[in-house]
């Protein structure tokens, strides 16, 4: 069984590779490379997998799950400029892929091996799914 919790955060970012020229950055990242940055309402969906505990009937304590997502993701990222205020995005380009992987890295230790997937919407039309380093599975 999978349980999924959603949280939202608003943040700004800029996608540029500092080793590339302006033309190269515009060619690869388009307007996302505009130097002053821009922003999104990011929607995060985190899924845990497991069987319901026979006593509690729960796969995982949802309150605890909420606390982990707030502490590890919302507090450091919400209303922040990711490149300037949320390491490692001073060195790692904060594409949706890299933000999803960083979220996985932050929250995975708190779910006792039950973390199944991290889905991050950058806009309502664009999202990435990350399943950790093993091969992808839906």
């Amino acid at each position: 069984m999978l349980i999924t919790r959603k949280v939202e955060f608003s943040a700004s970012h800029v996608c540029r590779n500092p080793r590339w020229s302006e033309e190269e950055n515009q060619r690869v990242f388009g307007p996302a490379a505009n130097p002053n940055g821009h922003g999104h309402n990011y929607m995060l969906e985190v899924s845990l997998s497991g069987e319901p505990d026979p006593v509690t009937g729960m796969v995982f304590d949802l309150k605890e799950m909420k606390d982990v997502l707030h502490r590890e993701v919302v507090e450091p990222f919400d209303h922040r400029f990711l490149n300037h205020e949320a390491p490692p995005f001073d060195r790692v380009i904060p594409t949706a892929e890299n933000v999803a992987r960083e979220i996985w890295r932050r929250i995975e230790p708190h779910f006792g091996g039950r973390l199944h997937s991290v889905r991050l919407y950058e806009t309502p039309e664009l999202y990435v799914d990350y399943f950790g380093e093993q091969a992808c599975s839906a």
Binding site: H13, G30, P31, A32, N34, N36, H38, G39, N41
Partner: protein, 144 residues
């Protein structure tokens, strides 16, 4: 008479900070929206125009003309931009969504006669959603 509404989206960053207030007051009034590096949103913009149905086309508002106007006046300049740094009007003025709605409405109203030279349709309303929960509306008649 119809009111036709078309929805658009753009992604931008902003910081809420009023130059007239002290640092402490800014933090009290704007909270985390005053964080120094700013943050961002996927803004959803709804533009409403009113007019009678044109007997030739069967439509009240030519959506393509509205799209061209929006691309030129709003989406081109605002999408993937930092409102404080990249938009002249917000160098001094705080880019709250109220002020943003006024600025967008003003731009549309100014360019409207060129895009829609006839008597109809008329620009009626601009509605901007900063997040799913924060929505701001302005009546175009209130704007000079």
């Amino acid at each position: 008479m119809f009111r036709v509404t078309r929805r658009y989206q753009f992604a931008a960053s902003h910081r809420l900070h009023a130059n007239a207030l002290s640092g402490e007051e800014n933090r009290r009034v704007y909270g985390k929206c005053n964080n120094p590096f700013g943050h961002g949103h996927n803004y959803v913009l709804e533009v409403s125009a009113r007019g009678p149905v044109d007997p030739g086309t069967g439509s009240a508002v030519d959506a393509r003309r509205l799209d061209d106007l929006m691309a030129r006046e709003v989406l081109g300049p605002f999408d993937h931009r930092n409102l404080n740094a990249d938009i002249e009007a917000f160098r001094e003025l705080t880019p709250t969504s109220e002020n943003l709605a006024v600025e967008i409405c003003r731009r549309l109203k100014r360019a409207w006669p060129q895009a829609f030279p006839g008597e109809w349709p008329k620009l009626e309303k601009v509605r901007i959603a900063e997040t799913a929960r924060n929505i701001f509306e302005i009546d175009a008649h209130e704007i000079q």
